[in-house]
C-alpha cells in the first residue's frame, strides 16, 4: 500500500498546495489593496515592480525581517502554539477540497486533490474548520489581557454560531447528491448548466455564502477584527511572523470557502460545453482547471468587494441574524428537501418554495420591526403604561 506508485500523486498534490497556498495568501493582500483602491477611485500600490506586482514580495520580506517581540506577561507555550493551530486547521481543511478537476472514479495517477476518495469529505472539512476556533481562543487567552480575551470570545461566539447554518445549508445538497464526497457532489452537477446546485437550492447557496463570510471574519461580520483595531482583541500581542500566521490562516480559509462555494453550488469545473473531469486530452484537463480557477477568482473578487460595500453588523445584530434568521431558514430548507426527495416530487419546485420561505421570513421580520416601532411610538406619546 505504501509503494512509490501510490505515494507520488499524494506528494505532488501536497507540494502544489504547500507551494501555492502561502503565495496566494500573500498576493491576496496585494489584490485586496488594488480592488479596494479602484473602488475608492484611487490607484493602489503601483510603485514596486511593474503595476505594483512586487508589493506582495516586499510585504513578505518586511514581515520576515521584523523584530520578534514577545511580551513578558504572556503564557509562552500557548502564545506560540495558537497561531500554529489556526494555520494548521486552515491547511488541513484543504486536504479534501479538490483544487482541479478530479473524478471520483479515478483511482490511479495524479489527482488534483490531496486526499482523494474520502467519502466523508464535507464532514471532515466542517469538523476541521471548527477547530480553528481553538486558534482564536488560545490566542486571546495567551495574551493575558482582558481586552484580548473579550475580543477572542466574541470572535469565537460568532464562529460557532455561524457553523450551524453552514452545516445546515450543505445538507440539502448532500441529500440530493447522496454523498458527502466533494468529488461526487461536483460530478452530480454534471450534464449541463441547468444541473448546478444553485438553481435547485438558491436559499442554501445564500446561507452558505453568508455563513462562510462570518466564519472567516470577513466584512460585514468582522466586528471581532474591527474591535481589534479599536481596542485589542486576539491580535494585540502578536507581531511579525506570528501575526502573519493568523493572517495567512484567515486568507487560506477565505480561499477554501471560495473553492467550496464554486464546487458545491456553481458546478466546479463544469462549463457549458465542457463537462466531466476526465477527458482524454491534456488540453481539456487544463481548460477545466482554468474554468475552476476563474470561477474561484470571481468569488474571491466578490468577497473582497463586499468588504468595501457593506457596513458591518453590530454584535447583537450578528447573533440575531444567525440564531433567529439563518438557522430557521436552514431547517426549513432541509425540511423542503426531505419532503421533495421522499415523496418523489419533481425537483424544479425546490427553488421557488425555498425562495418563498425566504420572502416570508423577510415579511415576518418587517412586521415585527414595524410592531416594535409602533410600540415605541405609543410609549413615547402616551407614556410607558399605554403598551399592552
Amino acid at each position: 500500500m505504501l509503494e512509490w506508485q501510490n505515494i507520488w500523486p499524494l506528494l505532488v498534490a501536497m507540494g502544489i498546495v504547500l507551494a501555492v497556498v502561502p503565495i496566494v495568501g500573500l498576493y491576496m493582500t496585494f489584490v485586496e489593496r488594488k480592488i479596494a483602491a479602484w473602488i475608492q477611485d484611487r490607484v493602489g500600490p503601483n510603485r514596486v515592480g511593474p503595476l505594483g506586482l512586487f508589493q506582495a514580495i516586499a510585504d513578505g520580506i518586511k514581515i520576515f525581517l521584523k523584530e520578534q517581540i514577545v511580551p513578558n506577561h504572556v503564557n509562552r507555550f500557548v502564545y506560540f502554539t495558537a497561531p500554529t493551530i489556526g494555520l494548521m486547521c486552515a491547511m488541513l481543511s484543504i486536504a479534501v477540497v479538490p483544487f482541479g478537476p478530479a473524478d471520483p472514479n479515478d483511482q490511479q495517477g495524479f489527482r488534483a486533490i490531496i486526499a482523494p476518495g474520502v467519502d466523508i469529505g464535507l464532514l471532515f472539512l466542517l469538523a476541521i474548520s471548527s477547530l480553528s476556533a481553538y486558534g482564536i481562543i488560545l490566542g486571546g487567552w495567551a495574551s493575558n489581557n482582558k481586552y484580548s480575551l473579550f475580543g477572542a470570545i466574541r470572535s469565537c461566539a460568532q464562529f460557532i454560531s455561524y457553523e450551524i447554518p453552514l452545516g445546515l445549508s450543505i445538507l440539502g445538497i448532500v441529500m440530493i447528491a447522496g454523498s458527502l464526497n466533494i468529488e461526487q457532489l461536483v460530478a452530480a452537477q454534471g450534464p449541463g448548466i441547468a444541473y448546478w446546485n444553485v438553481w435547485w437550492q438558491p436559499l442554501a447557496a445564500l446561507l452558505f455564502f453568508t455563513a462562510a463570510l462570518a466564519e472567516t471574519n470577513r466584512l460585514p461580520f468582522d466586528l471581532p477584527e474591527c474591535e481589534q483595531e479599536l481596542v485589542g482583541g486576539f491580535h494585540t500581542e502578536y507581531s511579525g511572523i506570528k501575526f502573519v500566521l493568523f493572517f495567512l490562516a484567515e486568507y487560506t480559509h477565505l480561499v477554501t470557502v471560495s473553492f467550496l462555494t464554486v464546487l458545491l453550488f456553481f458546478g466546479g469545473w463544469h462549463f457549458p460545453g465542457l463537462t466531466g473531469p476526465v477527458d482524454s486530452s491534456v488540453a481539456g484537463y487544463l481548460l477545466r482547471w482554468l474554468v475552476l480557477l476563474v470561477k474561484v477568482g470571481m468569488v474571491v473578487a466578490v468577497i473582497i468587494q463586499l468588504r468595501w460595500t457593506l457596513p458591518r453588523f453590530r454584535f447583537d445584530q450578528l447573533m440575531g441574524l444567525a440564531w433567529r434568521g439563518m438557522i430557521p431558514l436552514g431547517l426549513l430548507n432541509l425540511a423542503v428537501v426531505i419532503v421533495t426527495l421522499s415523496l418523489d416530487i419533481p425537483r424544479w419546485w425546490l427553488a421557488p418554495v425555498t425562495v418563498a420561505f425566504l420572502l416570508m421570513a423577510a415579511a415576518l421580520n418587517a412586521k415585527s420591526v414595524a410592531d416594535r416601532s409602533r410600540q415605541l411610538a405609543t410609549s413615547r406619546d402616551r407614556g410607558p403604561a399605554a403598551i399592552g
Binding site: Q305, L306, A363, S373
Partner: protein, 208 residues
C-alpha cells in the same frame, strides 16, 4: 404633556427610517450597494496624482522657500534694517550688519548692508511676515516647496544660498519679483529695471 410637545411648532420629531419588506430582506439594498461599487470598480477614474512624475499646481503667492533679491547691479538689495528679524514670529532670521564707507566703490549709495544673513529654514513657519515687513523688497517667499537637505545644518541657509535661490527662480516665470516700483526707498528700483516683470495689478504701493 407629550401631546402638546408633539403639536408644538418648534419641535421637529425625527422618526427612525421605516423598515419595510425590502429592507428586512437585506438583499435589494446589498444589490444596490454592489452596483455602486462595481460602477466605481469598472468605470471610475482614479483621482490620484502620481507624484513625483506629476507636480502639483502651485498657486500664486505660495509661501515656500525664501530668497534674497538682487538689485540691478547684482548686489543684495537688503539694507540690514532688521525689520524682518524683528517681525519673524519664529525668530529664525539672524542678520549681522556692516556699515559702508563713502569711498567704497561698490557700496557708496548705501548706509549698511548685511555681512551675514542666516535663515534657519527648519524653524521658519513660512508665514510671510518677513516679506510683508521688508521695506525694500529684499526678501521674498518663492513657490519652491521641495528644497530639502539631509542634515539640520544643511537647512540653515546663509546669504549665498538665499541669493542662489534668487538666481534659480528669477527667470522661471513663476516667481516674479514683487517689488513696489521705487516707491519705498533708494534700494528698491523703478519699474523699468525690475527684472523684466510687469507691475503688480493696481500699480503697487500708492498706485505709482
Amino acid at each position: 404633556m407629550s401631546e402638546s410637545t408633539k403639536k408644538s411648532k418648534n419641535v421637529r420629531w425625527a422618526e427612525p427610517p421605516k423598515i419595510g419588506f425590502a429592507e428586512a430582506l437585506y438583499l435589494p439594498a446589498i444589490a444596490q450597494g454592489i452596483a455602486t461599487t462595481v460602477k466605481h470598480l469598472v468605470a471610475g477614474k482614479p483621482m490620484t496624482r502620481q507624484y513625483p512624475e506629476v507636480e502639483p499646481n502651485i498657486p500664486l503667492n505660495y509661501r515656500g522657500v525664501h530668497r534674497l533679491n538682487r538689485d540691478d547691479q547684482g548686489r543684495v538689495k537688503c539694507v540690514a534694517c532688521f525689520l524682518c528679524q524683528t517681525a519673524c514670529p519664529a525668530n529664525c532670521i539672524t542678520i549681522e550688519a556692516t556699515g559702508t564707507s563713502k569711498d567704497d566703490p561698490q557700496w557708496s549709495d548705501r548706509d549698511k548692508y548685511p555681512a551675514s544673513f542666516v535663515i534657519d529654514e527648519l524653524r521658519c513657519i513660512y508665514c510671510g511676515m518677513c516679506e510683508e515687513a521688508c521695506p525694500v523688497d529684499a526678501i521674498e517667499l518663492t513657490s519652491i516647496y521641495d528644497l530639502t537637505g539631509l542634515t539640520r545644518e544643511q537647512m540653515i541657509f546663509d546669504k549665498e544660498k538665499l541669493l542662489s535661490v534668487y538666481d534659480a527662480t528669477v527667470q522661471s516665470g513663476k516667481d516674479p519679483i514683487r517689488t513696489h516700483r521705487g516707491q519705498l526707498g533708494p534700494a528698491s528700483e523703478p519699474a523699468s529695471e525690475a527684472a523684466g516683470s510687469p507691475p503688480p495689478p493696481g500699480g503697487g504701493l500708492r498706485g505709482g
